[in-house]
Symmetry: C2
Subunit: 314 residues, 2 copies
Amino acid sequence: MMPAPDILVSEVGPRDGLQSVRQTMPTAAKLAWIRALAATGLREIEVASFVPAALLPQMADAEAVVADASSIAGLTVLALAPNLKGVQRAVGAGVHKVTLPVSASRSHSLSNLNKTPEEAVAEVRRVCEWREELRADAAFGVEVGISTAFGCTMQGAVDEDFVMRLAEQLALAGVDAVGLSDTTGYASPTQVRRMFKRLREALGDKAGAAHLHNTRGQGLANVVAALDAGVTTFDASQGGLGGCPYAPGATGNIVTEDLVFLLESMGLRTGIDIQRLIEARALIADGLPGEPLYGHVPDAGLPRGFVYADGRAP
Amino acid sequence: MMPAPDILVSEVGPRDGLQSVRQTMPTAAKLAWIRALAATGLREIEVASFVPAALLPQMADAEAVVADASSIAGLTVLALAPNLKGVQRAVGAGVHKVTLPVSASRSHSLSNLNKTPEEAVAEVRRVCEWREELRADAAFGVEVGISTAFGCTMQGAVDEDFVMRLAEQLALAGVDAVGLSDTTGYASPTQVRRMFKRLREALGDKAGAAHLHNTRGQGLANVVAALDAGVTTFDASQGGLGGCPYAPGATGNIVTEDLVFLLESMGLRTGIDIQRLIEARALIADGLPGEPLYGHVPDAGLPRGFVYADGRAP
């Protein structure tokens, strides 16, 4: 067993990334990529989305991907499911955790989920109730990252008090962890620090991950602010793949390679090997020919004399 | 008179940017670009380098550029000069401030300046002594940003205590402000916070600017850390133009457009208009056809509902 990392980096590329691109990565290429990602030391990967294949053909092989990923030792396999039905499919396929979408912007929620924020919370409540009934038979985690928590391309500002009320309702509904997502790249470090601090005060240990975008180049600046506020789980996507297909201009997950470098150079152990991570990019290029990949560390390489937070040389 | 900004953004593109590219921007194009930059609200621009034209043909028109820039109302005109002779030329041309190069890495110092760090400090001392003699006749500022303060592509780690000793020697020599430069993109937020805190403890009001690079995508993350340590002046380059031509792989000044957005969205007044800044990029494209420009805010635009720190709408 490896020691627990200081920070959990949750890789969302195989779900959030792949569902945002036009091409569909072949199943075999997905499995090879996910195995390569797990071999870098990543301990949690969001591998699929359990939505109808007609809506997202890129995710039509969700069952097969989860089946393979859940056989990787030590890996927490996460999937997105939009509702109870999707959760039941995901749990049947063998995921360890599900994440459900709730959006704080009313217009984003309606266009993305065809639900009001309140209806989305009600759906999450149904999922938690179903889990209660199952408890003896099956154990799985339930998480929510509140989308557009820092602002919305459609409605502009999002009321912070409303975001906090949603978070509290979700925690009361039985969700294990509630995070905040900057779906649109609107967040500033000041806002990130303030809102994650409020989240922790309101939810205690149920305060969850920061999901940050680099749309305006502010992604890692916001990570520094979230660390100050005590966040210990960060979503990121290899090569910066993905964003949100339903929020215009919302491209740009923070890049896993650059995030891991940031954390390790700050003395925070992630357990992830940056060199292997850079090598794994080749598998995206194989599975999605011509798709643009982002990130600075893959181009610049590690600094001369770099050591990981645990003292290891690269 | 406009109120003083909370943060001074010092634009280095016309010097640091232009001397790092192969093409030479024509003088008329430089003057148009500098005037456009000043019209965005930038209050300080590093416009030229007073080195022999044989070494840097891009800077052969330094006198003409300074003469024009120093006629712009309210603008502080800064130039780099490698030695007393260059400073005398710069002051003769009418600059308000000079910045002199001192590098903490012995190998970078020798290859870049053909001087040891101690010899570079001695040259700065001569400049300050000359200014003392002139004091009745001419007033100009003297600044140093210590290069490779966070690590060096040639020698790897740079001793922090040595950086602080250099800073103290420079302050004692009579320099007005001593900053720290991450010439190579090696810095982490932890290191930036610690070193600027030490700098302020050692130098008080003479603690100067942060000059940060985005080589590994960490530029704005390091800005957040520097703000925590009380830094109030940041160098940046429009479009991320430039780096250091003598430090291999050291491309990537932080992008002025993204920096100003960061600061304003954190509630820190810069006095700079982001929309005008984005428009000024066209003048780089005119003067340096085909040169790549960086930055996320120019592509993504301002968020819906964005307001500046002073409450102004864009």
